[in-house]
């Protein structure tokens, strides 16, 4: 099979998984106790039962739980409706985020906020990948040296530190050193972002926190992978041939160590995504993570449904990219 065939097949494979995920989320919402309509209308002021019932029915029809003639809509019809809307990128309207008296369209919220999350994540992912590689190579090539030992202990401490607390500590440290807490405020997000200096200023601390979070995880991995490979026969051969030490490490050892590293990084992406939710919340960074957490705290069902569709989708796309990267890294891989 050709490379293109492989990519197409893996892309199509996302569809059933996404269907399964949306079905799972949909079922969870449906079997959860409590009436979403009551959650939605909240403490409505009504003197008569009739007034309350009218408000209830109006809301239920709007939410699609009741049909126009007040019959209950079966769950599979609602699911088909949901998937149909999803295909048109229509997630409905938010209950919590309001604009001009009615809920904002969720696709608009997400479109506005996604750029913040993506900037933060891509930046810190690149930084942590580069730093982790450097640290891993230093540790593995000078095993049991002073640097290796102190780096290993530092990584272990960082690995045991809850990410949200690491972010908080960074905030405290920065406050004592520069009187700057890094909690984002409004003028950091004035458009255009590219020439907005304070945007970059407020980007520093979240990026640093997320970078450290990913770094401690990846550096351990790079080190153990490289150590295993440095013991292989072909590395010994390369050394015996009298090759330059640098060439042995980067041309022989590191290239072969990439594959398992790419696998585990690909699998750990949901963890990184969850980490981004935590860091965003701590620094008040208005990305998708904050939107999701605020929606959850205020029981904004449509918004949660939307984010719960988008996060797995991002993850699946990332995993697809990982799989495609394999093929380029390792020519032995059969697809």
């Amino acid at each position: 099979m050709s490379l293109r065939g492989f990519i197409v097949r893996r892309t199509i494979y996302i569809i059933p998984v996404m269907l399964g995920i949306t079905l799972m989320n949909f079922t969870l919402i449906n079997i959860s106790p409590g009436d979403p309509v009551i959650v939605r209308i909240g403490l409505i002021q009504c003197n008569t039962v009739e007034c309350y019932n009218n408000a209830y029915n109006k809301e239920a029809i709007e939410m699609g739980l009741l049909s126009k003639d007040l019959y209950t809509v079966p769950w599979f019809e609602r699911y088909v409706e949901f998937v149909n809307n999803l295909l048109h990128f229509d997630f409905g309207r938010s209950w919590y985020y309001e604009q001009a008296g009615q809920g904002m369209p969720i696709s608009q919220i997400i479109g506005e906020r996604a750029v913040y999350t993506i900037t933060l994540n891509i930046l810190s992912f690149i930084f942590s990948l580069l730093l982790a590689t450097a640290i891993g190579v230093v540790s593995a090539t000078r095993q049991n040296s002073f640097w290796d030992r102190s780096l290993t202990v530092a990584m272990l401490l960082g690995y045991s530190m809850p990410l949200f607390w690491l972010a908080k500590l960074l905030m405290l440290m920065s406050y004592y050193m520069f009187k700057f807490t890094g909690v984002a405020n409004k003028d950091a997000f004035e458009t255009p972002l590219i020439i907005n200096g304070s945007f970059y200023k407020y980007l520093i601390l979240p990026t640093l926190a997320l970078t450290l979070g990913g770094l401690v995880f990846m550096a351990r991995l790079v080190r153990s992978q490289l150590l295993e490979i440095l013991r292989q026969d072909y590395v010994v051969t390369a050394k015996a041939k009298g090759l330059d030490r640098r060439a042995v490490i980067y041309k022989h050892a590191f290239r072969n160590g990439l594959l398992p590293i790419v696998t585990i990084i690909g699998n750990s992406l949901p963890g990184l995504l969850a980490g981004s939710v935590m860091v965003e919340r701590v620094f008040g960074w208005p990305g998708l993570g904050t939107v999701f957490l605020e929606g959850a705290l205020f029981r904004d069902y449509p918004l949660m449904m939307a984010t719960n569709t988008i996060f797995p989708f991002l993850f699946l796309v990332a995993r697809l990219l990982t799989d495609i990267t394999y093929v380029f890294i390792d020519p032995r891989i059969k697809y």
């Binding site: 399964g20 969870l28 949901p270 969850a274 935590m278």
Partner: protein, 358 residues
């Protein structure tokens, strides 16, 4: 012409064993599998550090649980009104944790701690001092007492959550690995679905949906149940692959020839042989579980009425810059717990499977 001096050649030893291997052989001498593992851990300094941290925390959680229950019992029995000041006929609220045994003067019991729920508003926001080693929080609760008695819930949640997860994973993984076929296929697809969702996000989603459920144990019972219902995938995959390789082995074949039932083969023969990875998963998993529950509590999805580190952290997180001791001590204990279990787990993994060791 250069000749090799025969004296210089190592003719004496036929097998050249390096020092490390010799030490390993010394360790193994005359011992069962578990005592070998224990000896290996004892040689690992970091592992022993983790072991002592874990031991200390477990002892702390257990003692605090005993003390609190004993104190509650004394109060409900009417022996103690909880107020140590003699002659003060104040409230019947339990203000202090006392130790009192029959025969002692009932007016002067030994006062160990301020009760974790006692809000002494006159002494709020005090920095760490001799009387309050960890300071007091904005409600006037003693942080030392909050942290000490919070150990029970924090650790118990980690243990229970991880144990249920691993038990579900082991049972499902064993069945899938042993029988294979369609059961295995279905299990794989389910795991794939569960693993496509970032676990932390899925947990929050579920907690929000199910927070109104009334089951004994409060909100944390719901959290633990759903945590184990979505978290078993990793264990199941590892147990399954272990079963795949073990079920083709001769000893299983022999047992089957002797007429053993499937259940006997699974639970008496294959499972004990794949115990090592399960133990590693449990130890390292407890660290992750405690971290996850703390994170959930930190972002406001815990049970605010419970006494646990995560909830205290959530309550005082915004006080960090003004009153750093309030959130610092619960956070420090979460950090130590995770560190201890990580160290112990890493050491256990090296001891149980030396091939993986660097």
């Amino acid at each position: 012409m250069a000749t090799i001096d025969k004296e210089e050649l190592p003719v004496k030893e036929e097998f050249l064993l390096d020092e490390k291997t010799l030490r390993e052989i010394e360790t193994m001498k005359g011992a069962g599998q578990w005592s070998i593992v224990w000896r290996r851990i004892k040689k690992d300094k970091m592992g022993m550090l983790g072991f002592y941290i874990v031991l200390f925390l477990i002892a702390m959680a257990f003692v605090s649980w005993l003390l609190l229950s004993f104190d509650n019992w004394l109060t409900t029995q009417g022996y103690m009104y909880g107020n140590p000041h003699p002659g003060f006929e104040g409230s019947r609220n339990n203000l202090y944790i006392e130790l009192w045994f029959p025969g002692m003067d009932i007016e002067n019991p030994i006062i160990l701690f301020q009760h974790p729920r006692y809000m002494d508003h006159a002494n709020a926001k005090l920095p760490p001092s001799f009387q309050y080693p960890f300071g007091t929080d904005a409600n006037g609760q003693d942080m030392l007492s909050r942290v000490f008695f919070g150990a029970t819930v924090s650790l118990a949640l980690g243990f229970i959550g991880q144990m249920t997860t691993v038990i579900i994973g082991t049972v499902l993984g064993s069945i899938a690995g042993f029988y294979g076929g369609i059961v295995d296929d279905i299990l794989q697809r389910v795991i794939e679905l569960l693993y496509s969702m970032p676990g932390f996000i899925l947990m929050i989603f579920i907690i929000v949906l199910f927070e109104d459920v009334n089951i004994p144990g409060g909100k944390y019972a719901v959290v633990v149940i759903f945590f184990s219902l979505i978290g078993w995938g990793g264990t199941a995959l590892i147990v399954r692959s272990n079963f795949f390789s073990l079920k083709e082995q001769d000893f299983v074949e022999a047992e089957r020839a002797l007429g053993a039932s499937d259940m006997r083969i699974i639970f008496r023969h294959i499972l004990p042989n794949s115990l090592a990875p399960i133990i590693i998963i449990v130890t390292l998993g407890i660290a992750t579980t405690i971290f996850t529950f703390a994170a959930l509590a930190f972002f406001g999805f815990g049970d605010p009425t419970a006494i646990s580190w995560g909830d205290d952290l959530n309550r005082w997180q915004d006080f960090l810059i003004e009153y750093p001791w309030m959130p610092m001590f619960p956070a420090l204990f979460i950090f130590f717990t995770v560190l201890g279990f990580n160290l112990l787990g890493d050491s256990l993994r090296d001891a149980l499977d030396p091939r993986l060791k660097d």
